[in-house]
């Protein structure tokens, strides 16, 4: 049995006991260090472990027209997110989503890969989900682990007008911009900012102030509980943008330009406010709100009509005959010709060994100052321009706003080109150009380039006799109008110009007859232009202002390769004038 006696010496007991006590004391020391000595340190760590801040999107401000009609609205859409760490079977989930919502699972896959930024960070899978799609998803929710959605206020556009180049779009902030803004910027990756147009110009005003909420999250990053105490902040929507745009006018402009390439701008010369603004072709305004489909992108980028180009502010064109008022103003201001001075037009003009044609090959016969403008006789201008230097012409062009920015509230604009001596020397060399070039410039051709928006300033100068406020979309109180540098001409000259331009529209031989809607008391002064250009058919211009009583509007219409301004552009002006002035009289009698 248990015979062997226990003979263990006492010191071995003490040795063993010491080992036990020693090891336990090490443990106690360690726990003391962690729990007492480093307690605060770890408490902070535990706190940051479990608290996550969630930013709440703030709806952007509305964009309204001058009658407070909503041009750009917000509506709640839903964004579908996937959390990679919680998705067990991605393909199966995507197929279910695809069935419930009709979104192609290839798109979901593509977005998943494109937007992936970490196992625990939600990925945007799809935007623009409707309530209907969402309710279909809800039914399949049990099978969809790791798929969540959030409400998001998205831009919603009026379906009667587009005005995409004026209103612009929101787009996700890009990495470079984000970096350049630095750490203090309120923007985070994925935030939407103004990408063009008014959305960009007035981004600061329209952007709301984001809210913030704090959630307790678990180790998997799932939101376990909303924390109510502390420094949570509710989102503040952005401020509304009141514009001078007129929805009805914009609608008609867009209607009339359907199928045409070019630009149309209607403004109020007395206020500088833009009533309608169109660059055609344009793009659907909601193009950038959803996750854009590659095909759609390709079709827009590859479109020969370049729908993304804002022709109004960034397209440069030879002005052609509409430039003639500047030449006329210049020669009258310099007192170089008399009103009665005449010349004969045979349809062409020989200068040195070159022949310069008039647009009317049969010739205008005897032409005086007024007839030259009304019938747009080129030969007259070939003749009178020879009394001038190129720098003088450039000076008057600049006085009327050519060659400089209009400061309109759009993110970018071109300044066009006003050729002067130093420009011509630079381009052709000192002896590489001659009076012949000046002859071309005199009829708005040659090296001269203008943007349609510059022509708006020009026509507004003519409409207001040299005193017109800066162009703007934002609806400003009238005492805060900034003015362009005034154009000082004698009243005789202004009257002569206006009378001549009125005859362009009203006289038997006027080139702009088609613009007259024949409304009693309506005075229209305009000028057509058929601007030759190297890209095919001439561009058809028509610029005009119309007034009735105190009410006045101006317009600039350009149809690229449209042929004769009088035939293509002037009829559009007719519709706009008719709509604007006739409507007004009706509403007035209604009251």
């Amino acid at each position: 049995m248990l015979k062997a006696e226990n003979l263990v010496p006492k010191q071995r007991f003490w040795a063993a006991s010491s080992v036990v006590v020693f090891l336990i004391i090490i443990l106690i020391g360690r726990f003391f260090s962690l729990q007492i000595y480093q307690h605060e340190n770890f408490s902070r760590k535990a706190e940051s472990n479990r608290i996550r801040s969630v930013t709440l999107p703030a709806p952007s401000g509305l964009i309204l027209d001058r009658n407070k009609k909503i041009l750009v609205d917000n509506y709640p859409t839903y964004i579908l997110y996937g959390i990679p760490s919680e998705i067990s079977d991605k393909q199966k989930n995507f197929n279910i989503i695809s069935q419930a919502t009709g979104i192609n699972s290839d798109i979901l896959n593509k977005n998943f890969e494109k937007n992936y930024r970490g196992r625990f960070i939600p990925i945007i899978l799809a935007k623009d989900l409707t309530i209907e799609q969402l309710s279909c998803l809800e039914e399949a929710k049990n099978q969809l682990q790791g798929i969540v959605y959030k409400q998001f206020p998205e831009r919603f556009f009026s379906n009667t007008i587009r005005a995409s180049h004026a209103l612009g779009y929101l787009k996700e902030i890009d990495r470079e911009t984000l970096k350049s803004l630095g750490k203090k910027s309120p923007f985070k990756y994925g935030d939407l900012v103004g990408g063009s147009g008014l959305e960009r110009e007035y981004d600061n005003l329209l952007q709301g102030e984001k809210g913030i909420e704090f959630y307790e999250v678990d180790a998997f990053g799932r939101e376990a509980r909303k924390i109510t105490e502390g420094k949570a902040r509710i989102p503040h929507p952005g401020r509304d943008l009141h514009t001078t745009l007129d929805m009805d006018m914009q609608r008609i402009l867009e209607q009339e330009f359907r199928g045409l390439r070019g630009a149309g701008i209607v403004s109020n010369p007395k206020t500088g406010g833009i009533l309608a603004y169109l660059s055609s072709p344009d793009y659907p305004p909601d193009l950038f709100t959803g996750l854009i489909e590659e095909q759609q992108w390709a079709s827009i980028i590859g479109d020969a009509g370049r729908p993304l180009l804002n022709r109004g502010s960034n397209g440069t064109y030879p002005p052609g005959s509409i430039f003639k008022m500047i030449v006329m103003a210049a020669i009258l201001d310099q007192d170089l010709v008399k009103y009665t001075w005449e010349t004969t037009c045979r349809g062409y003009y020989e200068f040195g060994d070159r022949v310069f044609k008039c647009w009317n090959e049969f010739g205008h016969g005897a032409v005086n100052l007024e007839k030259a403008l009304v019938e747009s006789c080129d030969v007259y201008f070939y003749r009178v321009i020879q009394k001038f230097s190129i720098n003088k012409i450039a000076e008057y062009s600049r006085i009327f706003g050519l060659g400089r920015a209009t400061d309109i509230d759009l993110p970018s604009e071109m300044t066009g080109r006003v050729p002067d001596r130093s420009y011509m020397n630079r381009r052709y060399g000192r002896s590489g150009w001659a009076m012949g070039n000046l002859l071309n410039i005199s009829i708005g051709q040659g090296e001269l380039l203008v943007t349609p928006i510059q022509m708006v300033v020009y026509i507004n100068y003519l409409a207001t006799r040299g005193n017109t406020p800066k162009l703007h979309f934002i609806d400003l109180p009238s005492d805060s109008y900034e003015k362009y540098p005034p154009v000082y001409l004698s009243n005789n000259i202004w009257s002569f110009l206006e009378n001549s331009m009125r005859k362009v529209v009203s006289s038997e031989n006027g080139t702009g007859r088609a613009a007259d809607p024949d409304i009693p008391d309506l005075v229209i002064a305009g000028k057509t232009s058929t601007a030759e250009n190297p890209h095919g058919e001439p561009h058809a211009w028509f610029i005009a202002y119309a007034k009735k009583g105190d009410d006045m509007i101006s317009l600039v219409l350009l149809v690229e390769n449209g042929g004769h301004g009088g035939e293509t552009s002037a009829p559009i002006a007719n519709k706009i004038f008719a709509e604007y002035f006739r409507d007004e009289s009706i509403t007035m009698t209604d009251k």
Binding site: N6, A16, I24, L27, F32, Q35, I36, S43, N49, E216
Partner: protein, 406 residues
């Protein structure tokens, strides 16, 4: 017989059972908190542990009441049976990637390697007490090592490094208790230390000096001393090759201890979260059921391997301190019983059990506190896990059985 048993039971050291029950209560207290928030692995761990506890008490009675001499008589047969039992899972499908479990077709699975722990102790105790061994000779160490190494290798192959190492733990303390020369035990331990020290140039240098000093002081024959010294150095240089034979997850656990920034979401993540939970608890803890790290599941395997972190977070340093003191009292009590025991078999068994308790407590707590690599060893009486709880209560029964004089 029954009278005899009654008298014996009256003298049994009930303090051991009381300490065990207090520790178990702490365990249940903590598991309830975890389960109340839907923690654990989906099942209600509190209820499940309660069932095991009841079975544990029954096994405790059995271990307490079975006559010592019967155990002594049949222990080698039991040893043979348990070797067979640890091999059986190898013929079954793997569960959780290992061959640890025997399935009975019941919802409860059985892990035979747990029983290998106490059976190996008893077999060792019988071997070391039966013969009139010459403990002064180094050859006496061979058979006890073989007795432990056989189940060690089988369990290691399952693979279950933690349990395998625990099976080896009692060998040295029991040999020491039985009278083996400390220098001989040092010779046995030296190669292990050589391997571990080889992972760092500085530690290996210190070890090489220490080795020389100890060998020098022990004055062995010159050729033996030289052989011993250079054998160990050689082994240390060989360690990288042995290292490469380890499984990636085992390597990972060691590596992340050396450099916790290596893999923030792997083993180091567990250590960081465990330390955060403990540290945020402070002196008094965040309160029962109030631990954010626990209930938001930042803590990994919180019901078993990392249960100390839960206790530390919710109940504070004060509870950890009381718990460690209770464990110390328990182990010192076992040592005292071993010292006072009249026969060598009982005494050695107690030492074996004490050393296993100590190993579990130290390794588990040190791991939780980020002092040693993450090693899946549960905390006696407290951690969730049926098989080990049964082992613990069998231990308690054996301690009270063997610690009582006839």
């Amino acid at each position: 017989m029954f009278l005899f048993q009654q008298k014996r039971l009256r003298n049994a050291p009930y303090s051991i059972l009381i300490i065990a029950l207090i520790l178990s209560s702490l365990g249940f207290f903590t598991l309830y908190s975890i389960a109340s928030q839907g923690g654990g692995s989906g099942v209600n761990i509190f209820n499940k542990q309660l069932i095991f506890f009841v079975i544990g008490i029954i096994l405790f009675m059995a271990a307490l009441l079975v006559p010592r001499h019967s155990i002594h008589q049949y222990i080698y047969i039991l040893y043979g049976l348990i070797l067979a039992a640890v091999i059986i899972p190898f013929f079954d499908d793997k569960i959780a990637g290992t061959h640890r479990w025997i399935q009975f077709g019941l919802p409860i699975r059985f892990q035979p390697s747990e029983f290998a722990k106490w059976i190996t102790i008893l077999a060792l105790a019988k071997y070391l007490s039966d013969r009139n061994l010459k403990m002064g000779s180094i050859k006496i160490l061979i058979i006890p090592f073989i007795i432990a190494v056989i189940p060690f290798i089988i369990v290691l192959k399952q693979p279950d490094l933690g349990t395998a190492l625990i099976i080896m733990v009692p060998v040295i303390p029991m040999l020491y208790w039985a009278g083996a020369r400390p220098f001989h035990l040092f010779i046995v331990l030296a190669p292990i230390i050589s391997i571990l020290a080889a992972f760092h140039v500085l530690s290996f240098t210190i070890w090489a000096v220490l080795l020389a000093v100890i060998i020098g002081l022990s004055k062995p024959e010159l050729w033996r001393g030289v052989l011993l010294y250079f054998g160990n150095i050689f082994l240390g240089l060989l360690a990288p090759m042995i290292w490469n034979s380890l499984k990636p997850y085992q390597q990972n656990r060691v590596l992340t201890l050396i450099n916790p920034d290596l893999d923030p979401l792997g083993a180091a993540y567990q250590i960081i979260q465990s330390k955060t939970a403990l540290g945020s608890g402070g002196l008094w803890g965040s309160g029962w059921k109030q631990g954010t790290q626990t209930h938001l599941k930042f803590l990994p395997v919180q019901e078993s391997d990392f249960i100390v972190s839960v206790i530390g977070e919710e109940l504070g340093f004060i509870t950890i301190l009381i718990m460690l003191v209770l464990f110390t009292v328990l182990i010192l009590k076992i040592l005292k019983l071993a010292l006072d025991s009249k026969d060598r078999f009982s005494s050695l068994t107690l030492i074996g059990i004490g050393s296993i308790f100590l190993a579990h407590v130290f390794v588990n707590s040190a791991m939780t506190a980020g002092m040693i690599p993450v090693k899946g060893l549960p905390l006696p009486f407290i951690s969730y896990g049926g098989s080990f709880l049964l082992t613990c209560y069998i231990f308690v029964g054996l301690i009270m059985n063997f610690g009582t004089e006839d």
